[in-house]
């Protein structure tokens, strides 16, 4: 392995391996700080509000929501798609960037994967509630009907969703856990409290770090990455099928699959930025999640934000180009109809706001990046709202044209789910190593600041180690 000295170091502070262990495990070994308790209590309170609204919905029925005959999907599905989208960045970082050998992923993949799992849990709540009778949720499984073998409808994209989301959740979970095993072994050997030691000992599966185990570990990670990459594409593709297989103008458009995937990565990176800016500050991990890491993520946000912008314009143009009056009406109505504010909020947050990060000084100002990352989250929420509500509220029959107004129950559920998400993330940050310690250590010899300094001299003065003899007969073909 050789790395060019002009690449920015991925680990700074001249750390030794033991220091890396201590730095990352500090929150697990020590008692939680006041700030942590403060954040945890707020999140848990918000979570309780959400759970209350959900309980109310389940006991009373979804008549407590603002849905009507025309707008049958609104906050519920908007939030579902929003949270599934958030989850995508985790798999992108852990799988796609692993395949593309982007070394900077090592310090953020653990937290991003955890975020994926929590986001998918949050997402699954919404279709569950929307069923109205969640205790009958097992009806989505291919089980024979009690009145005879009437099966589920495999032609329905909603059923594809069931398979896609459950596969995505379980595969992300085992991918994440497999990656955690070596670090859990480290935690087990580091903690002193006997109860903690016992728990981490069970969780670490008896990991000792033999060379053969590492070899298999790396191969398993690669294969899982190879599987997770098309999986992550398929999940948001299938979510987009929920809309695009229909004949509703504004929903049925062939670019939806890649456009949803790009949007998901965009929103996911927005959320990763939000979380990482706080995490590296609070847990004191700036030597591992460096400014270079933040810069790389900002660039991905610019790229995916532009892709989303391209998709918006493409849709708008093709709606006109189609020559179909219904297509044309839907898009004019989106931008200038009663929900114009949602459309322009989406456009401003998603397409315009990331573009200012082309300027380096803005990318390196963490306060501004934090604000932009929040705007991206808001914008992507509005994107789903625009797609769902504005396409539905103008029905084929003008007599059924209706507006949609969310109720306090829907607001409460939506906010409460953020509480669930942050509560889970805060617990994760206390109980498990937020950085993949083994993976970070494995790149330190080539990518840390110390290694860079050592190599620069030999690189600058040394001749290339190349055999000059040109030997055409030596080639194997």
């Amino acid at each position: 392995m050789t790395e060019s000295p002009i690449r920015e170091p991925l680990v700074t502070g001249k750390k030794s391996y033991a220091q890396v262990t201590d730095d990352v495990l500090k929150p697990i070994v020590s008692a939680p700080s006041k700030e942590w308790w403060f954040a945890f209590l707020i999140s848990a309170t918000v979570m309780m509000v959400g759970l209350g609204c959900m309980t109310y919905t389940v006991f009373t029925g979804i008549g407590t929501w603002g849905l009507n005959k025309t707008v049958g999907w609104a906050f519920d599905i908007t939030n579902f798609v929003f949270w599934v989208g958030i989850g995508h960045a985790g798999t992108l970082i852990s799988a796609i960037l692993l395949l593309f050998r982007q070394g900077w992923r090592q310090s953020i993949n653990r937290a991003a994967e955890a975020m994926t799992i929590f986001a998918v849990i949050c997402a699954a709540i919404f279709p569950g509630l929307h069923m109205g009778r969640p205790w009958l949720a097992f009806w989505v499984l291919p089980l024979p009907n009690t009145h005879g073998p009437l099966w589920v409808n495999f032609n329905s994209p909603l059923l594809w969703d069931v398979f896609a989301i459950s596969t995505y959740f379980s595969v992300s979970l085992i991918f994440w856990y497999t990656g955690l095993i070596p670090d859990l072994g480290l935690v087990r050997d580091k903690v002193t409290n006997p109860i903690q030691k016992k728990i981490y000992s069970i969780l670490s599966f008896g990991w000792t770090g033999s060379a053969r185990a590492w070899h298999r570990f790396e191969i398993t990670s690669l294969v899982l990455a190879g599987l997770a990459t098309p999986l992550v594409l398929s999940v948001h593709t299938i979510v987009s099928f929920d809309f695009a297989t229909s004949v509703i103008p504004g929903w049925h458009t062939t670019i939806f699959p890649p456009y949803f995937v790009a949007g998901a990565i965009f929103s996911g990176f927005g959320m990763v930025l939000t979380l990482m800016i706080i995490t590296r500050e609070v847990l004191d991990l700036k030597n591992y999640i460096t400014d270079g890491h933040m810069d790389a993520m900002c660039k991905i946000v610019i790229a995916t934000g532009s892709m989303v912008g391209l998709a918006y314009t493409t849709e708008f143009f093709i709606a006109w180009y189609s020559g179909s009056i219904y297509e044309r009406f839907t898009f004019i109505n989106r931008a200038f109809g009663p929900y114009w504010w949602a459309y322009w909020a989406m456009f401003t947050c998603n397409v315009f706001s990331p573009q200012i990060m082309w300027i380096k000084s803005i990318r390196s100002n963490m306060k501004l990046v934090f604000i932009i990352s929040l705007l991206v989250n808001v914008g992507m929420w509005f994107e789903r709202y625009v797609i769902i509500v504005t396409s539905l509220h103008r029905d084929f029959l003008p007599s059924s044209w209706q507006m949609y107004y969310p109720t306090w129950v829907e607001w409460g559920t939506m906010i409460g789910v953020f509480g669930i998400f942050f509560t889970l993330f805060l617990l994760f940050a206390r109980l498990l190593p937020v950085i993949a310690i083994a993976e970070v250590k494995s790149i330190m010899k080539v990518s840390s600041d110390e290694a860079k300094e050592k190599n620069t001299h030999s690189y600058a003065s040394g001749e290339l180690n190349v055999n000059v003899a040109h030997s055409p007969d030596n080639q194997k073909f």
Binding site: S4, L99, T245, P257, I318, Y321, N467, K476
Partner: protein, 429 residues
């Protein structure tokens, strides 16, 4: 191979076109030309006269069949290779922006491919203009035929976009932007051969790459709509730009891999080890899957919703014995073959296997363009014969000559590139 400290080959070597290769290229061009002439004669003798289709229910272009066939072939092949060249610029931009290091030892190959761009675009421009003014490619360009077409009521809504003046304007804009960025990348590349300017140019190339990617996203979609989607002017699909991009991208990857393998076979590039080959193989493998994903999603959504405004496009393809065979065939060549053959690590590292798969995939994506053009220009009179094969061989020869010639003009390795050392020591698990 674990840690490699010893690197084979000479990094100061230069490529030169040998006689054997020259003979092959001449053979391709000559043989291709012969087949094209045979094809034209056959089409003129056996084909229908001008004016066929007047007032008939299927509508379409009125120009003589042989002329439409000729222009369809010219469009496919001029775009196919120009598309490979612009995707070479895209490759350079992506690798620059993503800070990749492994590709440096093969960097000259995409650079040489991109040098074909000006030639390719001039040829493409001539074909587009010729097709436009002889009414042999675009139904919307022929008022008389258009009014007789049963989709006229839809197409007339789009004439604000689909008209000769605007079309030519957009074409020139796309050409100019593409050539300007190609020249900028070459300028960076030449500056990076000079130790005094290498770092400043290297840093500046990030900006060029980022801006190009932005421009490329828009121009590529526009090119796909204008040159291919508007062949069936009543039809529309928002995915189409992505689809043509995916097709050309895999063509480029296969072509670049083939050229690297050719150079290795000729005894050059000893420093390109099996890890680099593995990476190229992974690219072909992964983006073959990506292409299939785009292709399948577009088809599935149109098939599923079954709206007549869209479905007729695939209906016409699937109800023609020739087109449906090619439609299914390209799926087999572009997905099943690379997926199953290149799945294992060993296959991606085996140069012979990789060369065979890349050749097939290259042809498979040429078929993508066939399906994008022929069902629109020739409707039910579609044909696959000597002209199609001949034209491909001919352009392949021309492309090969230009690219290999450019490859010989500079050292095969950018000696002063800051990531060269990384690339020479490249090792993948």
């Amino acid at each position: 191979m674990g840690e490699q400290h010893h690197i084979e080959g000479n990094i100061q070597e230069k490529y030169s076109l040998d006689d054997q290769t020259k003979k092959y290229i001449l053979g391709f061009i000559g043989g291709g030309l012969l087949l094209v002439i045979i094809g034209i004669v056959l089409a003129m003798v056996g084909g229908h006269d001008a004016g066929h289709g007047h007032g008939e229910h299927h509508g379409g272009l009125h120009t003589a069949v042989w002329l439409r066939q000729l222009f369809s072939n010219l469009l496919i092949n001029t775009y196919f290779f120009a598309g490979i060249a612009i995707l070479a610029v895209f490759f350079l931009a992506v690798k620059t922006v993503s800070n990749a290091g492994w590709y440096v030892v093969i960097k000259r190959v995409p650079e040489a491919i991109s040098e074909y761009l000006p030639v390719g675009l001039i040829l493409l421009g001539i074909v587009l203009l010729g097709g436009l003014f002889s009414h042999s490619l675009y139904l919307w360009s022929d008022e008389e035929a258009l009014k007789a077409d049963h989709h006229y009521h839809v197409i007339k809504e789009k004439l604000g976009y689909l008209n000769t003046g605007f079309f030519v304007g957009r074409m020139l804009l796309i050409f100019i932007l593409w050539i300007v960025f190609q020249r900028m990348f070459m300028k960076h590349s030449i500056e990076q051969d000079n130790p005094a300017t290498v770092m400043s140019s290297f840093n500046a190339s990030f900006k060029t790459g980022a801006i190009f990617l932005f421009v490329f996203a828009i121009t590529m979609s526009m090119a796909a709509w204008d040159w291919f989607m508007s062949i069936v002017p009543a039809w529309f699909s928002t995915m189409f730009g992505v689809y043509i991009f995916a097709s050309s991208w895999v063509s480029f990857l296969a072509m670049a891999t083939l050229i690297v393998l050719y150079l290795k076979r000729k005894g050059y590039m000893g420093y390109v080890n099996e890890n680099h080959i593995h990476d190229l193989g992974k690219f072909v493998f992964a983006f073959s899957i990506f292409w299939t994903y785009i292709w399948f999603c577009e088809y599935l959504l149109i098939w599923y919703a079954n709206i007549p405004e869209e479905t007729f496009y695939f209906y016409n393809i699937l109800h023609s014995p020739l087109y449906s065979t090619i439609f299914v065939g390209k799926f087999l060549i572009n997905f099943i073959l690379p997926f199953f053959v290149l799945m294992t690590r060993d296959a991606k590292r085996n140069m012979k296997t990789l060369a065979i798969v890349c050749s097939c995939v290259l042809f498979g994506h040429w078929l993508d363009l066939y399906i994008a053009v022929f069902p629109g220009t020739l409707t039910h009179e579609g044909i696959f014969g000597p002209m199609e094969i001949g034209m491909f061989l001919m352009f392949f020869g021309i492309f090969g000559y230009f690219v290999l010639n450019k490859l010989g003009q500079r050292n095969l390795v950018p000696e002063h590139h800051p990531y060269l050392e990384e690339s020479l020591h490249h090792h993948v698990f």
